[in-house]
Symmetry: D2
Subunit: 131 residues, 4 copies
């Protein structure tokens, strides 16, 4: 996919995000593991998990608030690495836990191809009036 | 630089990390802003900040514990986005705040070319015996 | 209850924790709202949410690892405040999301008497050999 | 001090906060270690560190924004426990790292009587118009 056509932008295209679902309740996506997303020991780099959660949460939140003339931008994220992923795909599924006036909070489970929990990401998104 | 030659691995080469310093006390690096690291609104994607901190902290910790036959892997990270970066470079400077037997904790300031604070990242690294 | 009899110790007695359930999978408890747990504006102090999660997670983890001669101590916590609580009780329900050799990770939902989500706490517990 | 007279409210009086300094740049306080702030193993309960940071950060932020008709309330906190404290006092010193229109971010070092770093707390405060 051309970078400028990616719904989550050029960086999402760079690390290889495939968006599977983005609604106000849930966001899902995956990244195929390839050499480019690995750190030196051969594991998927933890930055990919934080990136995935931010791309998906801001995409889903932004789509939901756009008709009110508002935009979504990242506010903060917390990632816990539980189990390494070395092959297959990285799968992320997030639920919107809070949809406030100025802040949305998402919790993502990151799993491998066998459904094992590999990381947790809490992603907080700021919602603001479009400039 | 060839991806396989990058001291922080293929993903660090992909997003464009330049390592400037990595000692047991401090780690510094930068990423030149280019289209590939942006999200749809033109800002540097927040995942880059988390990635930078993880690459630098695990590199510096790993180098420090290697002679004891130990390795460093990411444990968790917390990123707060304070001010967007849209051009120039992303600069990250981390200090090792805790060097424990099983855990090192680093705090990074992320700044822009004018030295303005743009993000904070706390990166916790697990230290383990090499397999 | 006498402070020294409280299963979660003296501080849990001070802020008023009632433990409802503590198993390797789930931990639940509550704190009755009274003047003593409020901050100046009349809301329950956010420190109570972090305290609740730590007390419950270390109690449940500690009980589960004790027979292996191991102990549980707090490692880190991340709390997001979503909606204030001003009366009734603070209810916390946590699930163990990861039970590793050296680290357990719990995610708590904090709710009010009407079941509304008021805070999220991720609590990471270190598991070590008893000294 | 009577609970209703404590500048940080009743809960701060309960766990024993002594405010030493609160300006827009820096906030400092301490808690004398006594049985009531301990968890079962005799260490100061981690909830005390999160509570301290929240009390001090919201006090200092609130004082700074009051004349603009605004108030400060807790948004989120992240605590890393590095070294236990068992006696003496818990000392917390926080710096305001970001003073935005809607969010202030503080970073606290928690130390013991010997000046050893025992915990890190990042505390984010929301700033809003008074109701």
């Amino acid at each position: 996919m051309a970078a400028d056509a990616h719904p989550s932008g050029a960086f999402a295209a760079l690390y290889g995000l495939e968006v599977e679902h983005a609604s106000p309740d849930e966001a899902r996506g995956r990244v195929a593991v390839r050499e480019q997303v690995r750190q030196p020991a051969g594991l998927v780099h933890g930055g990919v998990y934080a990136s995935l959660a931010e791309s998906l949460a801001t995409l889903a939140t932004g789509a939901a608030v756009r008709e009110q003339g508002r935009i979504a931008v990242g506010h903060s994220s917390q990632t816990s690495f539980l189990r390494p992923i070395t092959e297959g795909s990285v799968h992320a599924t997030g639920r919107a836990r809070h949809r406030g006036r100025s802040t949305w909070v998402w919790e993502f489970d990151v799993t491998d191809d066998d459904g094992r929990l590999c990381a947790l990401v809490r992603m907080t998104v700021s919602v603001r009036d479009a400039a």
